[in-house]
Amino acid sequence: MLVLLFILFGAMAIGCALAVVAQRNPLYSAISLIGVFISLACLYVMLAAPFIAAVQVIVYAGAIMVLVVFVIMLLNVEEEEHRRSRLRFLVPAAVALAAVLIAEVAFILVSVQESRVVPTSSASDVGLTQSIGAALFTRYLLPFEITSILLLMAIVGAMTLARRSGLLGSRDQLKRD
């Protein structure tokens, strides 16, 4: 049963990820990426991590992708036109690199012996919100505080970059005058 679910959600994740790369319209890529996030959230539930799955859906599929779709619509991006790329060798290079990476993964899968650890049952409390919160506010308090400073820096940086009359904007106006 779990194997069937793994195959279903894994195939969904890989298919949506291929669609992200294959689509020419960025909006379709964004919607395929939401599919990847949802199927990864289902895999997290299978791995007995319900809190991470909920955060994945809320933060990634909710907040970040809404931001990306908002920017795509704000900039009114048209489909990529077919024009001659200056770096024509990039596509074969990318395919060759991907083949090498996949071959390495296959080699590891074949050669490394299977681990005997069994996945967690629902009786374990690893992955519940209580255990994550307890560890986050006791043992890992310093990374938590550093994260808050990082978010503050991101807010200030995004506002400075995106406002019209910022540092860059005023210099542009000087150049135009």
Binding site: F6, G10, L18, L33, V36, Y60, V71, A94, I102, G157
Partner: protein
Amino acid sequence: MEPQLSWYLALSAVLFTIGVVGVIIKRNIIAMFMCIELMLNAVNLTFVAFASFFQDVTGQLFVFIVMTVAAAEAAVGLGIIITIFRNRETLDVDDASILKL
């Protein structure tokens, strides 16, 4: 038969590889941005799989922090994309090959 740890690692590697290929072959800067998000998610799957199989909560905490960094990256990165579009009227990375505005 239960899904093994190596299955999750292989799925994560495949997703990461697709993200790398996307970053290399895409020319639209927003599409490249989304492929970077795809790579971050592939690594998150590895962390959650190890945390679950080794009964350790640290991996899931690391996923939590990676998500925060991804949110900060989204905010700053989209700000940079908007600024580039305002200055150049294009999102093609080949047209943004010089640092001069």
